[in-house]
Amino acid sequence: MKLEALGITKSFGQGNLRRNVLDDLTLNVDFPHVLALLGPSGGGKSTLLRVIAGLERPDDGLILLNGTPVPFTDKSEATLRDYRRSLGVVFQAFNLFPHLTALQNISLPLTAVHGLTEDAAKERALGVMDRLGLADHREKLPGQLSGGQRQRVAIARALAVKPRFLLFDEPTSALDPEMTSEVLTLIAELRKEGTPMLLVTHEMGFARKIADQVAFLGEGRVLEQEPAGEFFSNPRSLEAQRFLAKVLAY
């Protein structure tokens, strides 16, 4: 997948507190499988992911995916909503619907948004659940599942709509180490299936192993963009060197 960001600017806050989270960010990257967005907290990784996901409109700038612009300029919410429907987003806090079973969480978007019949939606949802090892948890509510299982249900929900690509916003930050590996294993398996993925993560070892390309963000800009192997073995920017020295110290 080819991702181009041209002069993306996004600021939050009012008056004196207003600050640019993304500051004239430019990125041009082509990746077959996984692009990892790395960088220090507050550097703009999550905001960039949310802009690409169509959840935030940038104040300025343009995003092109395989040459097609994300419809930010159209002020109607419906166009952007149609765009969002073509993607799958996985959040840090899972964001499952607590009043619905695991199966319903996955099938509801299929019937309500993607126009499948109840039966077709159920069949597809069950297929995805089986594939992700969730067959035993169909009828459970999110509150009855472990964190790792919840995140796998969330991934199944994103995957079931057959998205153009998947976006992961720190998918393991709320999990303990054992569950983290459970989710990372799943993401590594998805890599083989061909759906491109965008990944914001703090798991450096994982990013190194799974990503094709790395974009390193700091102060609202892309400070470095390289194939993952090179980024980790030989970072060019001073900020990336410092960052890696810090996070890999222990």
Partner: protein, 263 residues
């Protein structure tokens, strides 16, 4: 032993024990008053106090039915008003928002009795609304709707923003978000105060007796002035209201358990 259990376990068993206790006390009270009333009465008036009130059982019955009718109509209307006002308070349109806020603040800031008097004698008379029952239902609905609006709004706003973000990411429209995400979760949140408000609605309908609506309270007052039997007139009044409000809290408790889930 039995009695102490009733009180000690009430916290654990939640519904059944305290409700059982309440019923027991109620029945004891009723039985006690009934026996003394009948005995004391039978000595004096030939038929006794209860017997003289018994002749007016139709008045009670009619009043009670009217109270139920008024309550049901007001329940439906106030739910609509409350929902509308709650949504208006969340609206992007400023005039809608401020109108809803004004409505809620005025209604919650004035006593119901004052509202009944003002709305009936000034507003209803002014626009030529003669039907007391219709006017009463409207007044009660406006009153209760303001409280419901605040409950519904609080229930909606208690839903974590991550849920709304998830709904947006999935591509739900605003209507779908309300239907699939907000409504079921908000309903679970506000069920206990909602049931309380509906019970209040039934009790508050008694104030409509002031504008001459022949509901349960006015019926009891009429029986009292005809028989001069205060206890025998007003005890059924209290019991009649309890018979309506207790089932509401019971049903609410059952629903709460049924809708229970961990977040």
């Amino acid at each position: 032993m039995n009695l102490s259990r009733l009180f000690l376990e009430s916290r654990v068993e939640k519904t059944s024990a305290w409700l059982k206790g309440l019923w027991v006390m109620l029945i004891l009270l009723l039985a006690g008053i009934l026996t003394t009333g009948v005995m004391g009465g039978s000595a004096g008036v030939s038929q006794g106090g209860w017997a003289s009130v018994w002749k007016y059982r139709d008045v009670f019955w009619q009043g009670w039915l009217l109270t139920i009718l008024i309550s049901l109509l007001s329940l439906a209307a106030s739910s609509l008003i409350g929902l509308g006002a709650a949504l208006a308070r969340r609206s992007r349109i400023l005039p809608l928002r401020s109108t809803a806020l004004l409505y809620v603040e005025v209604v919650r800031g004035t006593p119901l009795l004052a509202q009944i008097l003002f709305l009936f004698y000034v507003v209803a008379n002014g626009v030529g609304l003669q039907d007391r029952i219709v006017a009463g239902v409207l007044i009660l609905s406006l009153f209760s709707g303001a409280y419901l609006a605040e409950m519904i709004r609080a229930g909606i706003e208690a839903i974590p923003s991550t849920q709304l973000e998830s709904a947006r990411a999935i591509g739900f429209t605003e209507l779908q978000t309300y239907r699939y995400v907000i409504a079921p979760q908000a309903l679970r949140q506000i069920l206990p105060p909602l049931a309380g408000q509906f019970a209040s609605l039934i009790k508050d309908s008694s104030l409509l007796s002031i504008i001459g609506i022949g509901e349960f309270t006015l019926a009891a007052q009429q029986v009292n002035s005809a028989t001069y039997r205060t206890l025998e007139s007003y005890l059924p009044l209290a019991v009649g209201y309890l018979a309506l409000t207790l089932p509401i809290s019971l049903i609410s408790k059952m629903l709460e358990r049924h809708l229970c889930y961990e977040t």
